[in-house]
């Protein structure tokens, strides 16, 4: 171990305790540059950069993974193209782009429903 340990106060949720001598790599999280270490899972990259992985669809707030073993399915995120990535079982690669909210292109609202939600009839 050759580098000092970053503290959790850097904005992340997870705390690195060891193995910080690995090469760094760069990725984009919600369009923001972030640094991870080679061998990190995407979940660790997300949670050393910030405190959430995604938000629940059902209004009960942010989520940050749960089982870390690919069983709970609570850590699915997206890349910019809308591909689904299970953060705990995906290894970070250089230049990866990750989104913690679904891109609009993933499942776009149809114009008809958008009109209805505005209180209008689609014309």
């Amino acid at each position: 171990m050759s580098k000092p340990l970053p503290s959790a106060g850097s904005g992340g949720r997870f705390v690195r305790l060891a193995e910080t001598g690995r090469p760094a790599l760069q990725l984009l999280i919600d369009g923001q540059p972030a640094t991870a270490l080679e061998g990190d899972t995407l979940l660790v990259a997300l949670l050393t950069h910030g405190r959430r992985v995604r938000s629940s669809e059902f209004g009960d707030g942010t989520r940050a993974g749960f089982c870390l073993m690919g069983a709970c399915q609570d850590c699915w995120v997206w890349d910019e193209a809308g591909h689904r990535l299970r953060a705990c079982s995906t290894v970070v690669s250089e230049g990866m782009t990750v989104r913690t909210t679904p891109p609009a292109s993933l499942w776009p609202v149809t114009p008809e429903v958008a009109a209805r939600e505005r209180g209008e009839v689609f014309r």
Partner: protein, 388 residues
């Protein structure tokens, strides 16, 4: 003091799916007859609970449109009728197609149903893109039935059952009927655990299991059990109102899907899977699932980035001629049937219930159902009804 091993009512219904429970409800509400319903397991558990949930008139055989119209009127007020939310949404039923030949068929159907009170709208590929924008370039046209929609089949049967019960129907679950006999002017149903139920009128609504009862009364019906191949996705942002399907003569292409308010997409279609009525089991074949994913991606490319969470099947009854069996027995007075709806009974079930209740209570119905008569299966020379 009543003899509890011999319960009597005006009408005995065997089979607690939607056909049985809707009839029970309307017999009580509209006609005041006493009703006992015997369900082998749990109300609405079989085809009624495992189907896709389409509430559509478009695309049906023309003979069913009057019945479907009648059902649609009930769907409009179903939450109020039952005091429960069946998640019915009237945002339309859209069917799209891949070929000009099929477009012509859709257009013909628009013309065919118009005199029957159903107004459909054709859409070009461009018009589909403007209003929905989800279809691939393979989709060339579509037809919308704007007032059709979809509802939640897991909830519907049990909700009708509870409403029937509150209205005074005697609903008995875990009451498998071993056999039914005619004694004098009454039908007597014997459950496997020795209970007996009697009534002068009997309705058989046992879905895929109905053939043996029809056979017992001398009216054999060729009935096949098949399993719908269903799936549901993870929740997605709510985006799509109508239930949507592909209209095609090629069985493997015939996919359909709908989005529920919570965001999940329910889908089905393509080849059916194996269903074993005797063993009460039905299966989804893995190759059917993978083919369905391919066909879904084919007509709505956005499916490629969606996750499938679960598949399921059920046990549906199919007749040889794709026409339901509904109406009075051709041989036995007081006996009635409503089964064999070929995987599309959900939408018309409230209409079936109203019509069967009317028929049983008054001897006639204002909705044409002659095309569904069980008599069509009788050999030509058989013309003697069973007398007591």
């Amino acid at each position: 003091m009543s003899d509890t091993t011999q319960q009597r009512s005006d009408v005995l219904i065997v089979g607690g799916g939607l056909m049985g429970t809707t009839t029970a409800l309307f017999l009580r509400r509209h006609h005041g007859l006493s009703v006992t319903l015997l369900e082998r397991e749990l109300i609405g558990r079989q085809a009624s609970g495992t189907n896709f949930g389409n509430v559509r008139r478009q695309g049906r055989d023309l003979a069913q449109i009057p019945l479907a119209n009648r059902a649609r009127a009930v769907w409009s007020r179903v939450n109020e009728l039952l005091g429960e939310d069946l998640e019915f949404v009237p945002y339309g039923h859209l069917r799209v197609c891949y070929t000009e030949a099929q477009t012509a068929k859709l257009e013909q159907h628009v013309r065919d149903v118009q005199p029957l009170g159903l107004e459909l709208q054709m859409f070009s590929a461009e018009a589909l893109r403007r209003r929905w924008g989800i279809f691939s370039d393979e989709v060339v046209a579509g037809s919308l039935s704007p007032l059709d929609g979809h509802a939640n089949p897991r909830l519907a049967g049990p909700a009708f059952g509870r409403a029937a019960q509150r209205a005074g129907a005697h609903i008995h679950e875990h009451s498998e009927v071993a056999h039914i006999e005619r004694v004098g002017a009454e039908f007597v149903a014997h459950t496997v655990d020795g209970r007996q139920y009697r009534a002068p009128q009997l309705l058989v609504t046992t879905g895929a299991w109905s053939a043996r009862f029809a056979q017992d009364f001398g009216e054999p019906v060729p009935l096949d059990a098949r399993g719908p191949q269903m799936g549901v996705t993870e929740p997605l942002p709510y985006a799509i109102g109508p239930s949507i399907g592909v209209s095609t003569p090629i069985e493997t292409e015939g996919l359909y899907f709908r989005q529920i308010a919570r965001g999940n997409i329910v889908f089905g279609g393509g080849l059916k899977g194996p269903a074993f009525a005797d063993a009460m089991r039905a299966y989804v074949k893995p190759d059917n699932t993978l083919r369905q994913l391919r066909e879904l991606r084919r007509f709505v490319p956005a499916f490629a980035n969606v996750q499938l969470i679960r598949v399921w099947s059920g046990i549906e009854g199919y007749t040889d001629d794709w026409v339901p069996v509904m109406g009075p027995s051709a041989r036995v007075p007081g006996l009635h049937y409503a089964f064999g709806f070929n995987g599309e009974g959900f939408a018309i079930s409230p209409g079936v219930g109203e019509v069967m209740a009317e028929l049983i209570a008054t001897g006639r119905t204002s909705t044409p159902i002659d095309a569904f008569s069980i008599g069509r299966f009788a050999p030509a020379e058989q013309d003697q009804p069973i007398t007591t």
